[in-house]
């Protein structure tokens, strides 16, 4: 019987939700979820900046070299280098307090890695939501997934609803003022209350959303020129700008755009 299955995983200091859609998944869903959870747990062990003894923490303190890292660390840093280039320098893990910190890429990437564990012939669609960074494949019985974009500064509202194909990440100051660092100024800064990026690669979406929140319209212009990635910037007062191809299912009123 066709239906939806839902599992929650505590990882990376938050809850990651796994949603699977398909036929008769009862017999496989727990195996798939357990695999995805193990993947998330492993990523947390390697990349956590909160764990003193994680490989990344040791790298940041200079106690270990890149050559001594698990293979996923240089792979992630390579991807960060590419994200840095695509963002015009606005995503920069190498110019953060405390040493190299790829966290702005890792949560989205982790969602994508967990998603790979959910692939199975019976799974028609799956959705991994790592506290706001989403990765997906397939759909919901022929309908695309619909994901709300939280309105910054207004807990009572969504900015709009997005048709999700692939990944979607949102970054902003709504929850943690001051955690976004302007790599050019070297200080906390944000030019958007909330910034979202949709595209095929979850890690890159996460990194570009971070860059977009910090850089604002400059980065939005870069996204307009970048194939397959779309961006949205929302100000604290609800005004928004988006790339022309942004995948709205329900766009906010045009009067709020400018």
């Amino acid at each position: 019987m066709s239906g939806a299955w839902h599992r929650r995983v505590e990882a990376m200091g938050t809850i990651v939700t796994l949603d699977l859609f398909g036929e008769g998944l009862d017999v496989v869903v727990d195996d798939l979820a357990t695999r995805a959870a193990a993947t998330l747990r492993q990523i947390d062990r390697v990349f956590s900046t909160y764990r003193d003894q994680s490989p990344l923490s040791r790298l940041r303190r200079g106690e270990a070299t890149l050559a001594e890292m698990p293979p996923e660390v240089p792979r992630v840093l390579d991807a960060c280098r590419e994200a840095h280039r695509l963002s015009g320098g606005w995503f920069d893990p190498w110019h953060l307090p405390g040493g190299v910190d790829p966290t702005g890429y890792v949560k989205g990437w982790a969602a994508g890695q967990a998603l790979e564990d959910l692939r199975h012939p019976q799974v028609a669609g799956a959705l991994v939501n790592a506290a706001g960074d989403l990765a997906s494949f397939g759909d919901l019985g022929g309908q695309p997934f619909r994901i709300g974009i939280a309105a910054p500064g207004d807990p009572g509202a969504l900015t709009g609803v997005v048709r999700l194909t692939g990944a979607l990440a949102t970054s902003g100051t709504a929850q943690q003022a001051g955690h976004l660092i302007d790599p050019f100024a070297g200080a906390a800064a944000a030019r958007a209350a909330s910034a979202s990026v949709a595209g095929p690669d979850p890690g890159l979406c996460d990194a570009l959303a971070t860059a977009l929140a910090v850089g604002g319209d400059v980065v939005l212009a870069r996204l307009e020129a970048l194939a397959h990635y779309e961006g949205l910037v929302v100000d604290a007062d609800g005004h928004w700008r988006a790339t022309r191809g942004f995948p709205w299912a329900e766009a906010p009123p045009a009067s709020l755009s400018r």
Partner: protein, 164 residues
């Protein structure tokens, strides 16, 4: 600004999105809960997290369910330790549709941050959970938020309503 749906972060909305898909796009039907209320995968996969806000079941008071008149049911989820204290969530449902979510108990110690949690975070989570049943969405993208304790107690309350 789209006013009707009231949502902030993904955790609880994800849960409700699934519920609404399984039954009908408009509302939660409590009979669909078996697919979502099995905590097995979640609890066996807890990593402890890397930052704050990880939770574990505390003082596992069994969820309490109350039947009232006219098919209205309510249940209180277990008291759950969250990073800043202990909370439990109470859910009221009528005709298989959630009508109210409230904080049944909250003890937040003396943390400086707890005022923020009480006055801002919990109302957000309640609105989010209520909204997810009408917004026809499968999740929410927003700046991250740790709402593990809320989700855990809410899930307990929902499971117990399904059993009633």
């Amino acid at each position: 600004m789209r006013r009707a749906p009231l949502v902030l972060a993904g955790t609880v909305a994800g849960l409700f999105g699934i519920l609404s898909f399984r039954s009908s796009p408009q509302k939660i039907t409590l009979s669909t809960l078996p697919t979502t209320s099995t905590p097995a995968a979640a609890s066996t996969t807890a990593s402890g997290g890397s930052g704050s806000g990880t939770v574990g079941p505390a003082a596992p008071a069994a969820p309490a369910t109350t039947a009232a008149s006219g098919g209205v049911l309510s249940a209180t989820g277990p008291q759950v330790n969250y990073f800043y204290g202990v909370l439990s969530v109470r859910v009221t449902a009528a005709s298989g549709h959630i009508t109210k979510i409230a904080i049944a108990s909250l003890s937040d110690g003396a943390y400086a941050y707890s005022h923020y949690v009480d006055s801002v975070s919990l109302p957000m989570l309640i609105k989010q959970a209520m909204a997810a049943q009408s917004a026809k969405i499968q999740g929410v993208s927003g700046a991250s938020y740790t709402s593990a304790g809320f989700a855990q107690s809410l899930q307990g309350a929902l499971s117990s309503l399904k059993l009633s």
